[in-house]
């Protein structure tokens, strides 16, 4: 389906904004709050064109008060509204995490299911444009570790639209992480992967399902967002050498689609996990643990992990390039895994 009918191409940000627009047209009670979501259209384009369509009452610019307006979104969702609230950079979570994890994530459970919070918290993640330690993180695991929120991070424009539509329709709180570089913005790196086929009509892509982005038989590479892009690049290069890597685009951290991962490992018997988040206590650890717990005997070689080596993201280009995994590093790591045996 995704490959069929290639005419209509959209960037990631336009795909996201289109999903929000369609749901806002259908449902009066969907609205957006955030810093610079109005005239600016979202610093990373997530609300491009929405102010013009829906006006300032439904596309609300806020003060720099993340605890205030994310908390207000919770209060509105408690009343049955369906707010979409933007945390401009995920790096800023620390000023409002109490509202996110102690309230948004816990109220439905603490109320024994009596209170629903149908809301979406969308936030920009990722680095590699030299924005340094406070503006370049993904923090996938920081959110995924804490129960009560669905945490998704789509890669393709198709998934960005389909999963945003699902997130808005969902009655559970959803943290929707979009990768800056995959938004296809004119002022950032131009990437083929940030433009893709997106049907005009509304459609949903289920939350909580990983995708086999490329089939292969020799090694499973589990990755997400930009790391999926790099993994596919590495797989291409490996294929030229007769090594067939299967690339899994995780898409969702919570719920975690163990089945797709385990099926793949049973096929390839080798696992490399790649993450743009910090290495320790992160996504690479969780995937490794799941496999070591449920498919240990399937493994022909030790599990390998590639991620940020537990330092903040440094500013200078050579330093940042050194810490963030790349297609080349993935390629090398896979070669290493196969030769070590």
């Amino acid at each position: 389906m995704e490959t069929a009918n290639k005419q209509r191409l959209l960037t990631g940000n336009k795909a996201m904004a289109e999903a929000i627009a369609k749901e806002m047209e259908k449902n009066e009670e969907v609205f957006v709050m955030g810093e610079d979501v109005g005239a600016y259209g979202g610093i990373f384009g997530s609300t491009e064109g929405l102010l013009e369509k829906f006006g300032p009452d439904r596309i609300m610019d806020t003060p720099i008060s993340e605890t205030g307006f994310i908390g207000a979104a919770i209060g509105a969702a408690q009343e049955g509204m369906r707010p979409i609230v933007e945390l401009m950079f995920v790096d800023f979570f620390g000023v409002c995490m109490d509202q996110i994890y102690n309230h948004m994530a816990k109220i439905p459970y603490m109320s024994g299911g009596n209170v629903k919070l149908p809301m979406v918290l969308m936030t920009a993640v990722g680095g590699e444009y030299n924005d340094a330690a406070q503006h370049s993180q993904t923090l996938y695991a920081t959110f995924a570790h804490l129960p009560g929120m669905k945490v998704v991070a789509p890669t393709t424009p198709y998934d960005l639209k389909g999963m945003m539509t699902s997130a808005i329709q969902e009655d559970d709180p959803v943290v929707f992480m979009f990768h800056k570089t995959l938004q296809g913005l004119g002022w950032m790196d131009q990437l083929d992967a940030s433009v893709g086929h997106v049907p005009e009509e509304s459609y949903t892509v289920p939350l909580g399902k990983a995708k086999v982005a490329r089939e292969g038989s020799d090694v499973t590479i589990v990755s997400i967002q930009m790391m999926t892009v790099y993994a596919l690049e590495a797989a291409e290069k490996l294929a030229e050498e007769g090594i067939h890597a299967e690339v899994i685009d995780l898409r969702s951290l919570v719920p975690l689609d163990k089945e797709t991962i385990l099926n793949s490992v049973e096929k390839t018997h080798r696992l490399l996990v790649v993450d743009e988040d910090y290495l320790s206590y992160g996504m690479t650890a969780e995937i490794s643990a799941v496999v070591a717990e449920e498919a240990l005997y399937e493994l022909d070689s030790p599990i390998k992990r590639l991620a940020i080596p537990d330092v903040p993201i440094p500013y200078s280009r050579p330093l940042e390039q050194f810490v963030v995994p790349s297609a080349e590093k993935i390629y090398q790591e896979v070669k290493q895994m196969l030769t070590d045996e």
Binding site: D57, P63, G75, E79, N102, G112, N114, D171, D172
Partner: protein
């Protein structure tokens, strides 16, 4: 302004009900915690923050609210919940951790949610203020004319969430009322060791809104200040901060040794009890006679007794229920 008779009587009996609920909890909480006190033992374990003495704040404003108005309350929520009309049986059962509780035992006394009367509370200081802002924003969007009240303690007025929420409420001209219960302490820290101003109504100026001050724990003055605030809110005249000087008769939580308090401090407070004072007022004004009051007291206390009875007799949830209610669809 003169306060309607029914309102005065409602405030009186609701204070009595709330006080009796708390006094009963004082005893019940100790069941299973003697001879050695253990916070995790007994039929009602965990922290327990009681509101004895603070009833005027709750009844003075809730007298103006309907089921369509929203209340967000902090870690010390019982008087607010009772004044807002939360289901007393389910609320008590929740504190007992029973299946019949508001949250089927998942919440506990700091996490009471009764959507039927739009009541919620939270154990994180100041965290409920933004929720009230969101509820008020919803009322404005839906043009329901509802108001949202956030109760906080004076200690919460120094938290960032207070500032961010009031700026938003004023900016968007929302029907929000923040009621600050100044009971002199945040746990052991006196107000003057924590707050740079003597009265938090002075902070209203930082948001271009109205601040009201109620002294001496007076339910009638609280009623009047709330009347003005609720009217402003319903008339689209924006938010209000009300600070009421109130009294905390007990420790911060049950089991608090209160080493930080002078002896005699509490007994002096109790001599000025707002329930006694309101009773005297009612009788001196001849609003009703003592017999009538006694009968109402018996009645509301019987409701409290029934609620505790219900809570005691209810079943505990099945252990596996712990895995439910995380997501609507998993």
């Amino acid at each position: 302004m003169s306060i309607p008779k029914e309102q005065i009587l409602w405030m009186y009996e609701t204070m009595v009900k709330s006080r009796y609920f708390e006094e009963t909890m004082e005893e019940v909480y100790m069941e299973g915690k003697t001879p050695v006190f253990n916070i995790g033992a007994g039929i009602v374990p965990g922290e327990m923050h009681l509101s004895n003495g603070q009833e005027p704040a709750a009844v003075g404003i809730c007298a103006h609210l309907t089921d369509q108005d929203v209340v967000s309350s902090p870690h010390r929520p019982h008087h607010h919940a009772i004044a807002k009309g939360v289901d007393l049986k389910k609320m008590t059962a929740e504190m007992f951790g029973k299946k019949t509780g508001l949250s089927k035992g998942k919440g506990g006394h700091m996490h009471l949610f009764d959507p039927d009367v739009k009541f919620a509370c939270s154990g994180i200081v100041a965290s409920g203020i933004p929720h009230a802002v969101g509820a008020a924003l919803t009322a404005k969007k839906r043009k329901t004319n509802a108001v949202a009240v956030a109760f906080i303690g004076e200690g919460a007025a120094n938290a960032g969430a207070f500032h961010e929420s009031l700026n938003l409420a004023s900016l968007w001209n929302l029907p929000v009322i923040v009621v600050i219960e100044d009971n002199k302490y945040g746990i052991s820290v006196p107000k003057d060791v924590a707050t740079a101003v003597d009265w938090n109504d002075l902070r209203a100026g930082a948001y271009g809104i109205v601040g009201e001050r109620v002294e001496d724990n007076d339910p009638l003055e609280m009623y009047r200040a709330s009347d003005r605030a609720v009217n402003r809110a319903r008339n689209g005249e924006g938010p209000t901060i009300i600070e009421i000087e109130t009294y905390r008769y007990l420790g911060h939580f049950q089991g608090d040794a209160e080493i930080y308090r002078d002896d005699g401090e509490v007994s002096k407070l109790r001599e000025n009890d707002p329930i006694v004072r309101l009773k005297d007022y009612i009788l001196s004004k001849g609003i009703v006679n003592e017999e009538y009051l006694n009968e109402r007291e018996r009645y509301v206390k019987s409701l409290v007794d029934e609620a505790y009875e219900y809570a005691r007799e209810s079943e505990y949830p099945d252990p596996e229920d712990a895995l439910e209610d995380l997501f609507v669809h998993s």
